[in-house]
């Protein structure tokens, strides 16, 4: 095709390209619809229903109940405490994990680093351990009577109960940090590697120290990667499930509604599907709001 295309031809081309776009999008859109939007829509729909029976022992069936599941959830102090617990968890665990990941990534990115590939693999390895296995392993390391850690301090007269009510949240935080720190580090290392090395050379010519390069070149350029892992973490932390679920078989400190996801899971297990759906919806909204607010702030301050 040469020369100027007529408007009609242009329109035709646009139509064709639209069909092409639709064709390329269809596989994703269909799967997204079938495995995400439909179940989510169904859960939303279900969350407005309550159970009713014909007579005291009749067959149960669902009837429209308006917002009653939502008012019940928002009035359930244990559920709200679960959300609060996850926020506290995030405020403490997330900065520690990211700081650690950042330090490791920056160390691996220095010129003097040795065995970079090996060290990267070692730091990343815990992420390759399925989180159920990780939680089980840490569960044994925490169990008084089995743990090598509790015996040591115990001998010194310090009584640590990693699975007790007060410590358990931080014991979970430790497992989560152990698992995900390496993953976050890899994201940061990858971002660091995309930085043009010329920038460092230029900075050195200008007399910048290593620390100044970190402070004024690496950190600002890591910003998008940091935003990304923060959003992942906000979502992951609010939906914390596997670790507390596995550890709950070892200790009574993790109640059935210890985290919002556990609460939804256990309510569904108790056949309260609609209530579980309402809990999931609230959790989704809280997660979406927090992630959005965070991204707004992050991008505005750019």
């Amino acid at each position: 095709m040469t020369g100027h295309a007529s408007p009609a031809a242009l329109r035709g081309g646009r139509r064709r390209s639209r069909t092409a776009i639709a064709g390329f999008l269809a596989p994703f859109a269909l799967l997204f619809l079938a495995t995400y939007l439909v179940p989510a829509g169904y859960a939303l729909y279900k969350s407005f229903f309550v159970v009713e029976r014909d007579g005291p022992f009749g067959t149960p069936h669902d009837v429209f109940g308006g917002l009653s599941n939502y008012t019940k959830a928002l009035g359930d102090s244990e559920f709200l405490r679960g959300i609060g617990r996850m926020l506290l968890f995030g405020v403490v665990q997330y900065p520690l994990m990211v700081a650690l990941a950042l330090v490791l990534a920056l160390l691996l990115d220095t010129r003097s680093a040795r065995l970079q590939r090996l060290m990267r693999l070692i730091y990343f390895a815990p992420y390759a351990v399925p989180s159920v296995v990780a939680a089980l392993m840490w569960g044994f390391l925490y169990s008084p009577g089995l743990s090598p850690f509790t015996e040591g301090p115990g001998g010194l007269g310090i009584d640590v109960d990693f699975l007790g009510t007060h410590a358990i949240l931080w014991s979970i935080a430790n497992v989560v940090t152990w698992t995900y720190c390496g993953f976050n580090m890899i994201v940061l290392v990858t971002a660091l590697q995309t930085i043009d090395r010329d920038l460092y050379r230029a900075a050195r010519v200008d007399g910048a120290s290593d620390w100044q390069i970190v402070r004024h070149i690496k950190l600002p350029l890591l910003r998008p990667a940091l935003v990304l892992i923060t959003v992942f973490s906000i979502i992951g932390i609010l939906q914390l499930f596997t670790e507390p679920q596995v550890l709950s078989t070892l200790t009574g400190s993790i109640t059935s509604d210890y985290t919002p996801s556990l609460a939804a899971f256990n309510e569904a297990g108790a056949n309260n599907y609609s209530y579980a759906a309402a809990i999931s919806m609230i959790l989704a909204v809280v997660t979406a709001v927090l992630s959005t607010v965070f991204m707004r702030i992050a991008w505005r301050n750019r």
Partner: protein, 448 residues
């Protein structure tokens, strides 16, 4: 790109609405067709889908399939009920398809499924006639006291006894407690030694069914129902009496907080840190597997009593097999379930490989369950267990939402052991939450 967020959202919203409409169209119209009460053999070759989580049950199923070419059983080994199978039943019941012909359900969960109208009445399929083949107290639990109705075939039971270390009791100079008062006293004496050993342990993990059994022993009645609806009395006087006793032991620091059935528990048993366990008939095998080094040192006594000289016991755990509503072969499924749980060879397999203490009256005469037991210092422990089975109150009724009741009780117990609240507070909270859950299931509750 020049598109406002709203315009970008529009297709999403459209998709969502469409999916909702599609779902709404799928819903409704699941009227269960009432099958006739007659339950006849189909007269042709049938295959029964069967779900169970008993270890080794495949050997019993193989035996049946060899002997019954016309009724073939297709076994699915499923996860433990609370680990997923109950949820799978619930989902299948909701969906109106996917339940097996025959499935394993623990006694305390049966009312839940009965109230979902998910269980076939197999009384006419031969189950009603088999009443005499099962231990007495199991029957009200599978019939719910309904005339001519049977909703499940009992598999195993868990009469409660006191497992204790005969050697350590002697070493510590403790008499086997005959009353709960003596038990608490002994707990205090052991703890007073200050060597880290305890008479027994108490932890919120797996606590609900155990505590219910202790209340049952004292004559408590947590649930009842009549034509008006349900009565819930989890905080009744007998239950409070049990709670107060354990509260006293908690307050005195007399109990270990090691969770039962964990590696930690096994180790505490093996290292002589726990002198006894208030457990069920099926628990002896668990001690044997968990702490094999303690062989020969264990003995079994009847449960301590609330009144000197009484002989009450209670049941903890145990399972049944129920035919699900909608099964095409309720007769054949029932015949298999009856064979599975009463035929001597099958019962022997379930006992040996699955550790089940049989609910079949004759099952207690299995060679494995009579005479001296090597792990228990050649003591005849099953004689004690058998007697306990004969002393269990028949009037106990499980509620329809035991999953909530147990998880609430277990959640609340964490606070009790922490000293944040009293055991009675935990009972109050459990009562409250249970009533709320029944009401959420649209069941009528009359609180006393």
């Amino acid at each position: 790109m020049v598109s406002t967020p709203r315009r970008r959202l529009r297709p999403l919203i459209a998709m969502l609405v469409l999916s909702l409409l599609a779902l709404a169209a799928c819903g409704g119209g699941d009227d269960a067709s009432e099958s006739g009460s007659a339950c006849a053999p189909s007269g042709e070759k049938v295959t029964i889908d069967f779900w169970s989580w008993v270890p080794g049950i495949e050997h019993a199923v193989e035996l049946w399939n060899e002997q019954h070419p016309d009724i073939q059983v297709n076994l699915s080994k499923v996860p433990d009920g609370r680990a997923g199978t109950y949820q799978n039943y619930n989902n299948a019941i909701r969906a109106g398809r996917g339940t097996p012909d025959l499935g394993m359900i623990e006694y305390d969960r049966l009312p839940d499924y009965r109230l979902q109208n998910a269980l076939e009445n197999i009384g006419p399929c031969g189950a009603a006639a088999a009443r005499d083949q099962f231990v007495d107290y199991t029957w009200p639990l599978v019939t719910f006291g309904e005339q001519d109705a049977v909703y499940a075939v009992p598999e195993d039971t868990g009469p409660m006894v006191l497992y204790y270390r005969a050697d350590l009791f002697e070493q510590y100079g403790i008499e086997v407690p005959r009353t709960w008062e003596q038990f608490a006293q002994a707990a205090d004496e052991v703890a007073a030694r200050g060597n880290g050993a305890h008479l027994t342990n108490l932890a919120p993990v797996d606590f609900g069914g155990w505590f219910a059994a202790l209340a049952w022993q004292n004559g408590a009645r947590w649930f009842d129902w009549d034509d008006e609806g349900w009565t819930v009395t989890i905080d009744d006087e007998p239950t409070r009496q049990v709670a107060d006793l354990w509260q006293q032991m908690i307050d005195n620091g007399d109990l270990s907080e090691v969770p039962t059935f964990t590696e930690e528990w096994n180790r505490a048993l093996a290292e002589d840190q726990l002198l006894s366990w208030v457990g069920a008939a099926w628990g002896g095998k668990l001690i044997e597997l968990g702490a094999p080094s303690t062989e020969g040192k264990w003995a079994v006594a009847p449960l301590p009593q609330w009144q000197e000289g009484a002989q009450a016991s209670a049941n903890w755990g145990g399972s049944t097999y129920a035919v699900f509503e909608g099964s095409d072969h309720p007769y054949e499924a029932t015949q298999f379930a009856l064979w599975l749980n009463t035929h001597p060879e099958s019962v022997a397999i379930l006992n040996e490989e699955g550790g089940a203490y049989p609910a079949a009256a004759d099952g207690t005469r299995l060679p494995a369950l009579t005479g001296p037991q090597p792990f228990f210092g050649d003591r005849d422990i099953y004689q004690v267990i058998n007697e306990a089975a004969g002393n269990i109150d028949h009037d106990w009724v499980w509620g329809p939402t035991m999953s909530t009741t147990f998880s609430t009780l277990e959640d609340e117990m964490a606070g009790v052991l922490d000293g944040a609240q009293s055991f009675r507070d935990a009972l109050d909270a459990t009562q409250r939450e249970t009533v709320e859950d029944l009401q959420a299931q649209s069941l009528t509750v009359t609180e006393r």
